[in-house]
Amino acid sequence: MNMNNVINFDKEKCVGCKLCYKSCFIDVIRWDEENKKPIFKYIEDCVHCNYCEVVCTKGCIKVVPDFKGELLHQTFDAYK
């Protein structure tokens, strides 16, 4: 929601196993049926759960969390 997580994807290594698409529990990733590759379409909703990175059989994905942007929403300003 508030974060600017970055998802680095190495297209050359991808073999189209579709596990990243399946593993995303909040619809960040869509699937390009024609080219058999993931589309990281809704990155603004990514919560850096790291599942896509971990299930990828070829190590194509690296999720870079935006820790500073993630809010805990506690009242005291210092506590993000």
């Binding site: 698409y21 529990f25 809704y42 919560v47 820790f67 993630e70 805990l72 929403h73 005291f76």
Partner: protein, 565 residues
């Protein structure tokens, strides 16, 4: 109102299961085992096997050694120390009695349950009466495979947006594909809601608990219960937002005072809301920041001892995930400063001992009805201060409900859906797509988060703060009719945002009614437990569009364990 042009799929099944997490899967398999000829369909919003929570948490199952503890002894301990007499003791006894049967079932369904060399279960003791077993995080992948082998049909990437009722009972549901908007009308004899809790999207681990199943059930008129129990906060490291389980006893303020040393007595269940309240009080008094010293706690000296070590259980799938997460967290955790992270988790759909709601043949299982079932009483979200009971509560509910759902499906004729109702649901579902301009779901979601997430509004509450929160929420409610979506992903976000508002309203209003503190529920203005007036459950129901509240006496006279005096 523009006419939405989209494909339509009309389906018919005996048993519709909404949500393919561990509860939905357990129910689906049990239904097929009970009657292999029953048609069982799971409709899942994302991808069944990877969705839900069972594959993202600790992967722990509660274990009772019946050679050492009798079920009634645990129920007695729980009623006194955890559920604080607000729990349905009969249901808790049933849950405890089924412990070994459930673990055996999971094993049968392909879950890797750990054993010692001598064939005994490899469990870790968590108190004099309980233990926990670690299963790997591919649990739902295994169980999905089993479900499919048994003939369960699964549809992924379709969200159910409304329930259909007819002749006083459930008739089915409507929904749409989040990929291409195909509208689904499903006719079913029994419907099992297994859609999880409302998490408010603050902490990432449970960020998929969107509460839209709760909202659909609320709109359909089913009763809710214990909406004031559901909010949970865990202490997290400020920089990485990584949780620190078991560290509550080693928290220090800026004056080097241990602020929670006496809040958690062994064998006390788990983090208490008083620890969270203490954080708030210390910060309010200017004695922050608060830091933890894990090296002082035997359980956490080794850092993430439960997860990144293979000493206890062999869990390669989970280990890969946990190590990846911890490595990234360690890179930013330059200190051990902590703050509460809010884990929403409203789970209020009321159910009876068969997990049936107040709408005939509509069941609610797993996290969506954890509080609503009253099984654990005055506790927060699963595992309700009772580690290892989240997954098993879901399996318990799945098994129990499926048997009843199959019975219904056998004995009744298909109930026809009402065409006009379908049209209303379709229009409601697609409305945000039809607006020319409006506001985004993100705006609503952030508004609600800012109101519910501060622990002084959700965990350590007071009448004043609740009323301020409700006034702010009213302003957010006024914005809902302006929600606009550009595609089906955005459409789902809009409905999830609406569900968040309903959940928050239910919580604040129910919490305002309970004028006492009990178990996890903590009020600054009513600090004592009042058994004379508050051995009751608060119920919520949508009556002609009005959120209406009621009370139900806890039948404490029927239960084996009662409060003294």
């Amino acid at each position: 109102m523009k006419n939405i042009k989209c494909d339509e799929q009309v389906l018919s099944t005996d048993i519709l299961i909404i949500g393919g997490g561990i509860a939905g899967l357990a129910a689906a398999i049990t239904a097929k085992e009970t009657n292999p000829d029953a048609e069982v369909l799971i409709i899942e919003k994302q991808t069944c096997g990877y969705s839900g929570k069972a594959n993202r948490g600790g992967g722990v199952l509660q274990y009772f050694d019946f050679d050492k503890v009798k079920p009634i002894e645990f129920v007695a301990y729980h009623a006194n120390a955890v559920g604080c007499f607000l729990g349905d003791q009969e249901q808790m006894l049933k849950y405890v009695n089924m412990n070994h049967q459930m673990i055996d079932k999971l094993k049968e369904w392909g879950v890797k349950v750990p054993y010692n060399e001598d064939g005994t279960l490899r469990f870790f003791p968590t108190g004099p009466m309980t233990g926990m077993i670690g299963v790997d995080l591919d649990i739902t992948i295994q169980v999905r495979r089993t479900a499919e082998k048994k003939g369960v049909k699964i549809i992924d990437k379709v969200t159910i947006s409304d329930l259909l009722t007819s002749e006083g009972g459930i008739a089915g549901a409507t929904g749409y594909s989040i990929l291409d908007g195909t509208f689904y009308v499903v006719n079913a004899k029994s419907v099992l809601l297994a859609t999880g809790s409302q998490n408010y999207r603050v902490i990432n681990m449970w960020a998929n608990g969107r509460g839209d199943g709760i909202a659909a059930a609320y709109r359909a008129g089913t009763e809710m219960r214990n909406a004031e129990f559901g909010n949970f906060a865990q202490l997290f490291k400020v920089k990485s937002h990584h949780e620190l389980v078991f560290n509550e006893n080693v928290l220090y303020n800026s004056l080097d005072e241990n602020i929670t040393k006496n809040f958690r007595w062994f064998p006390e269940a788990d983090i208490s809301s008083t620890a969270v309240a203490e954080w708030y009080n210390q910060i309010s008094a200017g004695r922050g920041p608060i830091y933890m010293r894990p090296e002082e706690c035997p359980l956490t000296q080794g850092d993430e001892v439960m997860f990144t070590t293979t000493k206890m259980w062999n869990r390669p799938y989970g280990l890969k995930l946990w190590r990846t997460i911890y490595e990234k967290c360690h890179s930013v955790d330059t200190d051990s400063e902590v703050a509460p992270g809010f884990l929403g988790e409203l789970s209020p759909v009321k159910v009876n001992h068969d997990m049936e709601t107040t709408i005939p043949r509509l069941f609610a299982i797993g996290d969506v009805s954890y509080a609503g079932s009253a099984v654990a009483g005055a506790v927060p979200a699963p595992p309700g201060r009772n580690r290892g009971s989240g997954i098993l509560n879901a399996v318990f509910a799945g098994i129990v409900s499926a048997e009843k759902a199959v019975e219904y499906a056998k004995n009744i004729e298909t109930v026809n859906v009402v065409k006009e109702q379908v049209e209303v649901c379709k229009e409601r579902a697609f409305a945000p797509l039809c607006r020319e301009n409006g506001i985004t779901a993100k705006e609503i979601i952030q508004d609600v988060q800012a109101i519910v997430a501060p622990v002084e509004n959700s965990i350590y509450i007071s009448e004043h703060r609740l009323q301020v929160a409700l006034r702010k929420l009213e302003k957010v409610k006024d914005k809902l009719e302006k929600l606009k979506a550009d595609d089906y992903h955005g459409l789902l976000s809009c409905h999830e945002a609406e569900a968040m508002v309903i959940s928050a309203e239910m919580f604040f209003k129910a919490a305002s009614l309970r004028k006492e503190s009990r178990g996890w529920f903590l009020r600054e203005d009513f600090p004592n437990t009042d058994n004379e007036n508050w051995l009751k459950w608060i119920t919520v129901k949508n009556v002609n569009g009005e959120m209406t509240f009621g009370e139900e006496e806890v039948p404490i006279g029927k239960y084996p364990i009662r409060p003294r005096g």
